[in-house]
């Protein structure tokens, strides 16, 4: 294990970006990292709102049209190695909002997240359970730590 991986393993920063879902997944994820019950901070996983110090990007929501550009820019701002977790059924397949106009493709919803940025792990659920989010983030850690 190199020096970089050694130090990264002691402070993994998760950034949550919210692209127009219903707030349910969003709060569950903040809850799973911050709240004393689940407390991902005891595994050295921290929540950050700054893309430049993030390692893992957690995306929720079906990516509305106006949120597409911010999401791409946030993804670009994260330094390598970077990993993306798509959380919730909206982020995975557009959820109930995807086909809102029937056969006519919706201009409102750009998602799922895979269409916009590469996704490394998918966490299903509506809304996601905190245990699943933790499992999803933890499953990515080997990739992150073997990166250099």
């Amino acid at each position: 294990m190199g020096l970089k991986s050694f130090s990264r393993a002691r402070a993994i920063h998760v950034m949550l970006v919210y692209t127009g879902g219903c707030n349910g997944c969003d709060i569950e994820i903040v809850n799973s990292i911050l709240s004393p019950r689940f407390d991902a901070e005891q595994y050295n996983v921290f929540l950050t709102w700054n893309p430049r110090e993030a390692d893992v990007l957690v995306v929720t929501g079906p990516v509305t049209h106006l949120n597409r550009k911010p999401l791409e820019e946030i993804y670009k701002a994260i330094p390598n190695p970077k990993l993306v977790v798509a959380a919730g059924s909206c982020a995975l397949m557009g959820g109930v909002y995807k086909n809102c106009y029937g056969d006519i493709p919706s201009e409102e919803i750009e998602g799922p997240v895979e269409n916009i940025i590469p996704v490394d792990a998918k966490v299903p659920g509506c809304a996601v359970r905190p245990q699943d989010v933790l499992a999803g983030v933890v499953s990515l850690l080997p990739i992150l730590l073997d990166a250099d």
């Binding site: 569950e28 809850n31 949120n67």
Partner: protein, 375 residues
């Protein structure tokens, strides 16, 4: 208190935040116009989250449309499905069983508890007092597990259906006992929190008098819910709802309309919710939880207003051969946007985010309708 008037002349310095900004959880855009770090005018723009739920509901069978309304908001999801079912029940004249009403009230009040706890935790987080925030998050977890016990999911329980509640959400003796014990635990924890919160002079001096909203202005801006009650206006729709006829509770008000009033208001209202849940546990009648004894017919546009954790929620639609037509939903945060802008005026820029948070914004709910302006 004097009326604060937004300045109409040109203000040079503008500080935009958003749409995605570290200080705000949800995507929205706010522009502060400042002079010497004092906010002179604020402008909030929403519309980033618009997904068009009403459009999806148009033409769906009413049962499906009811289930879809849950996806409007992940915080007050139960309120949406409750009010949507209630709208159809008013239109079709469905008499719901007494036991179902009680379970709906229990779910509604549990949701009010978790929404208010989220507000308190988020407010303390914005105040940068992490300890208080964590204490409340810990209490909130008890409520979330109760919601999961009754509804089967931590968010979006799908409790109400047309004519009552889903049979899965029926409560038995064991569930009622756990509910009762956990209410004691929540009350104890919340009492401890409120005592420490009010005794903490550092926090109190930080929040007293910040972001004040006089009650005349609040009425003028048509503010609803706890934000209105925190300015001293005792207006609560629960006093007029038939579901709450058998329950005894007080309408809490606070005098000042500042951040302190808002936070204390939510904490005290949580005690009233605990009181209502205890009454419901003690008096819950026996019987079935859902009635299938109703007929579908076409109706005119039906309207229903209920009190949800953040204020007054309005649903309206017409039924046409079992399908939803002309759906309109108005959520409480829509009315409170005016209060958010107003509370920022005259405050330090560092307090501006706190002034927005004090009105309990939920911009996901709020992105409802778009107006197409042809030029």
């Amino acid at each position: 208190m004097d009326e604060k008037v937004p300045r109409s002349n040109i203000i040079e310095t503008e500080i935009p935040m958003g749409t995605v900004h570290p200080a705000a959880l949800e995507p929205y855009r706010v522009r502060f116009f400042v002079e010497d770090e004092i906010v002179q005018e604020a402008e909030i723009t929403i519309g980033v989250n618009h997904r068009g739920i009403e459009r999806i509901m148009e033409g769906l069978p009413v049962e499906k449309a009811n289930a879809l309304t849950e996806k409007i908001c992940g915080i007050c999801s139960n309120s949406h499905i409750w009010n949507s079912c209630r709208t159809a029940e008013i239109g079709l004249g469905i008499e719901i069983p007494e036991r179902a009403t009680y379970i709906r009230v229990i779910m509604g009040e549990l949701e009010r508890l978790h929404s208010h706890f989220l507000y308190l935790a988020h407010g303390c987080e914005v105040l940068s007092h992490e300890t208080f925030s964590m204490r409340i998050f810990y209490l909130r977890e008890i409520v979330m597990e109760l919601l999961a016990m009754i509804g089967g999911n931590r968010v979006q329980y799908g409790c109400s259906v047309l004519g009552g509640v889903r049979p899965r959400c029926d409560v038995d003796e064991a569930k009622l006992l756990r509910l009762k014990n956990d209410m004691d635990a929540v009350e104890e924890g919340l009492t401890g929190f409120v005592e420490r919160f009010l005794a903490d002079s550092v926090v109190q001096s930080r929040i007293t008098g910040v972001g004040a909203l006089p009650h005349k202005q609040a009425i003028k801006l048509a503010v609803t819910g706890p934000t209105l009650r925190a300015t001293g206006v005792a207006r609560d729709l629960r006093t007029t709802m038939f579901e709450y006829d058998n329950f005894d509770f007080n309408v809490i008000t606070q005098p000042d309309g500042d951040v302190r009033s808002n936070l204390v208001m939510r904490a005290l209202e949580s005690f009233e919710s605990i009181k209502i849940i205890r009454q419901a546990i003690a008096n819950i009648p026996e019987g079935k939880v859902v009635t299938r004894d109703w007929e579908m017919f076409d109706t005119d546009i039906i309207e229903s207003y209920i009190e949800v954790p953040r204020g007054t929620l309005y649903h309206s639609y017409a039924l046409e051969s079992g399908r939803v037509r002309h759906c309109i939903i108005r959520t409480p945060s829509m009315a409170n946007i005016g209060a958010m802008k107003y509370a920022c005026i005259g405050e330090q820029l560092t307090d501006a985010q706190l002034c927005i948070v004090q009105c309990d914004p939920c911009f996901t709910c709020t992105d409802r309708a778009i107006e197409i302006i042809r030029r």
